[in-house]
């Protein structure tokens, strides 16, 4: 048989295999590079663009700076730190106003109104202390940072900076075996993970798209920014003199966000070497020309499209959650509330990972929306720490200035470790139910939805566990 055919298919493949080692591993890059160079040369020879020269040069100059190997990353971190610093220091004052309006003013009026029509105590508690206060808390905590952060972020986007970030990150994504366009879905994830998951549609290869979907949760979403900002300014910013507090808190938040990006690379790398093995696609990313951002239009549309939209969603989830919190705190079995049972049950696990049962229960209650974690934590702490001097009844969302909040959390047994691990756990835990549902719809598989919930949760438990043990060990020695 061999003699009939001069060359057989296996022979060709064997030869190719043998020769592949001789020509070296970078053939693919060599090919792509040669094509790009040649395309540029031919296009340049055939094209004349007379009057675009000056604008083109300015764009080039900016690009050389923001995508440079040396300055690209420092500039990126600087810019994002600046954005968060403006957000953190700018959000305090309007947050105070809103808290005063919604909780110090409207809440007593509602209570008085309920008393006037002699509403039963349980209905009054459920509706006003549960539903209303949960919603008011979310609005006063979330609205100011969102109303500052989103327009700033959209301005950067409008200016044309985001594609440059993608360009900078592309090489790292490639090294971790993922698609460079994942940097764009990551950027979307910083707003909302559900939107980030949908944005992965721009990635054509199913393998790389799955990696992008499974790791999108490591992009800190806006439901978690308030938690980070609040905990950072209460515990981390308090470690330094007051005038440095804002910038140190901002750096801490940027640090956590950067850790999230780092986790994206690590987990992508791990997935592309185990579960989702395969080749990396090459792609061309168009860097659009820089445009002067349309400031007022951007502020207007980002307020309407993003801020109000996200806030509405948060309110929608906070209202029923407020009712649930009030119920578990007030329904008792044998003299002990359901919440206390649950917290006592979760406490040992919480201790292992440097948190406590209150925080874990809050994360279970907050599965529909990460936004309500902090309000839930505060309310449950009041319950278990048995603080009466603040004049708060069990299961009631309450108003608190920064000092009061800090005093309350300290009374609940919080330390710097609790704060650090809460920030870490807020970054590394399961995505909210909306995102999970989106993942299920996009992948069409319950398995991948489950993986995307359990994977970050596993990472979160591991990281907080290690941090807690090391922290306590160091404490023991010194």
């Amino acid at each position: 048989m061999q003699s009939i055919q001069p060359t057989t298919a296996p022979e060709i493949l064997e030869t190719a295999q043998a020769l592949r080692w001789q020509v070296g591993g970078n053939l693919h890059e060599q090919l792509v590079e040669s094509i790009y160079t040649e395309a540029a040369r031919i296009a340049d020879r055939a094209t004349v663009r007379p009057d675009e020269k000056t604008r083109f040069d300015l764009d080039r100059a900016i690009d050389r700076l923001v995508t440079s190997r040396l300055w690209g990353f420092p500039l990126m971190l600087l810019l994002f730190t600046l954005v968060f610093w403006i957000t953190i220091s700018g959000a305090n004052i309007p947050s105070g106003w809103l808290a005063w309006l919604l909780m110090d003013t409207i809440h007593p009026i509602l209570k008085a109104g309920a008393a006037a029509i002699s509403m039963p105590w349980w209905l009054d508690g459920l509706l006003i202390d549960g539903v209303y206060l949960a919603t008011a808390w979310v609005v006063s905590v979330m609205l100011p940072p969102m109303a500052i952060f989103f327009p700033l972020f959209t301005l950067l986007e409008d200016f044309g900076y985001l594609p440059r970030v993608a360009f900078n990150l592309d090489n790292l994504f490639k090294k971790s075996g993922a698609h460079g366009k994942q940097s764009l879905s990551l950027m979307m994830g910083f707003g909302c993970n559900a939107a980030g998951v949908i944005a992965t549609r721009i990635i054509d290869s199913p393998r790389e798209r799955l990696i992008a979907i499974l790791t999108n949760n490591f992009a800190l979403c806006n439901g978690r920014w308030p938690t980070q900002i609040l905990v950072a300014s209460l515990f981390i910013g308090a470690l330094v003199p007051a005038y440095l507090g804002g910038i140190i808190s901002a750096l801490a938040v940027v640090g956590v966000a950067t850790l999230g990006v780092l986790m994206t690379f690590v987990v992508s790398w791990g997935l592309s070497r185990t579960w989702l093995r395969g080749e990396v696609s090459t792609f061309s990313l168009e860097l659009p020309p820089y445009r002067p951002p349309r400031v007022w239009q951007t502020i207007y549309t980002s307020l309407i499209d993003r801020t109000i939209f996200v806030l509405w969603r948060a309110i929608l989830f906070a209202a029923p959650a407020g009712a649930v919190i009030w119920l578990v705190a007030n329904l008792t079995i044998g003299g002990t509330s359901i919440a206390e049972y649950l917290i006592n049950f979760l406490n040992p696990v919480g201790f292992l990972i440097g948190l406590n049962g209150v925080i874990l229960l809050a994360y279970i209650v907050a599965i529909p929306a990460n936004e309500i974690v902090i309000p839930t934590v505060l309310m449950l702490t009041v319950l278990t720490a048995g603080i009466s001097e603040l004049g708060i009844s069990a299961g009631m969302m309450f108003e608190a200035g920064e000092g009061e909040t800090l005093a309350l959390l300290n009374a609940g047994g919080w330390t710097l470790l609790t704060a650090v691990n809460l920030m870490l756990f807020s970054l590394l835990h399961n995505p909210c139910s909306t995102t999970l549902y989106t993942i299920y719809k996009e992948t069409g598989s319950a398995k991948w939805a489950a993986v995307s919930a359990l994977l970050p949760l596993g990472v979160g438990f591991a990281v907080t566990f290690v941090v807690a043990q090391v922290w306590r060990l160091v404490w023991l020695i010194f």
Binding site: Q5, P6, T7, T8, A9, P10, E11, I12, L13, T15, A16, L19, R20, Q22, V23, L27, H28, Q30, L31, V32, S34, I35, Y36, E38, A39, A40, I42, A43, D44, R45, A46, T47, V48, R49, P50, D51, E52, R201, I202, D204, S205, P206, R207, R277, G278, E279, V280, S281, T282, F283, S284, E286
Partner: protein, 279 residues
């Protein structure tokens, strides 16, 4: 199946304006055909506009990168030749692993169209030429449709199409498909390449290292012995050296040789097979 070429007897008949009158849009009515023409190109270059203008169909044109991977085929009659036109998914490259690119690549490779028309955006020539150069590695019978010259003119970008044709080694037809400008000339050029009157000598990748050149030569010799008459043995060799699993499979199954006579490049079945080969 092929009908004898008409020999133009007068100057009038060689004029493109005369040829334009010869265009008969056949829509989806394609009983049999003389030539298959593939339309490739980056997304957003007006590929579907060209397709619609030639076939008289109304293929939906979308702007979102990616998700519509639907087949579009239509026919037209030109210069007494019946043509089948296949609109391929818009892609930036033919090298990478995405489904769209695989469909486009497989059609040009295994479907063996008589002519591959690469529609390029005259205002973004450099990026578009990446794809052109990759197509030229696979097939010699290619035509560049330099589209959107109206936009280029508005932005004062001048493209020297003769220079471009000389550098690429294939004919270049400037068009503004939205206004049907340049389409008669494009048809004439397609007809010339399809009937073999125009012979292309496209630009090919020149390896820098002598080892690579040697490796390609050795592999090409073996491939040509196994699949005589294969027009792109050099490219197949390059892909095998790069470890392209789809092509290894094609060599193993003998698809490269077998597909030669097969004319019905059903893009749907190829899509299915492309999916079957995915990791």
């Amino acid at each position: 199946m092929k009908q004898p070429n008409r020999h133009p007897s007068t100057a009038c008949e060689t004029c493109p304006v005369h040829s334009a009158a010869n265009l008969l849009k056949l829509g989806v009515n394609m009983a049999d055909w003389d030539y298959v023409v593939a339309l490739a190109g980056n997304p957003n270059t007006g590929k579907s506009t060209v397709f619609n203008a030639l076939t008289g169909l109304r293929q939906h044109t979308g702007n979102w990168p990616g998700k519509t991977v639907a087949r579009a085929e239509g026919g037209f009659l030109f210069n007494d030749h019946r043509y089948k036109l296949v609109d391929l998914p818009g892609t930036y490259s033919l090298l990478a692993a995405s489904l769209d690119e695989e469909i486009a690549r497989d059609f040009i490779l295994f479907g063996r169209p008589d002519v591959t028309v690469v529609v390029v955006d005259a205002t973004r020539l450099e990026r578009n030429l990446n794809l052109v150069l990759q197509v030229l590695e696979i097939t010699d019978r290619a035509v560049v449709c330099l589209n959107l010259i109206d936009e280029a003119e508005r932005r004062h970008i001048q493209v020297d199409e003769r220079r471009l044709a000389r550098d690429l080694g294939v004919p270049v037809a400037p068009t503004a498909a939205r206004y049907s400008r340049g389409l008669p000339e494009l048809l004439g050029i397609i007809d010339g390449v399809a009937s073999g009157k125009t012979v292309c000598r496209p630009y090919h990748f020149q390896p820098e290292s002598p080892e690579l050149e040697q490796a390609i030569a050795r592999l090409v010799a073996k491939i040509e012995r196994a699949f005589p008459g294969l027009p792109n043995a050099r490219w197949v060799a390059l892909r095998l050296l790069d470890g392209d699993e789809r092509l290894e499979e094609a060599v193993r199954q003998g698809e490269l040789g077998k597909l030669q006579p097969q004319r019905d490049g059903n893009i749907e079945s190829q899509r299915a097979s492309a999916e079957g080969h995915r990791v």
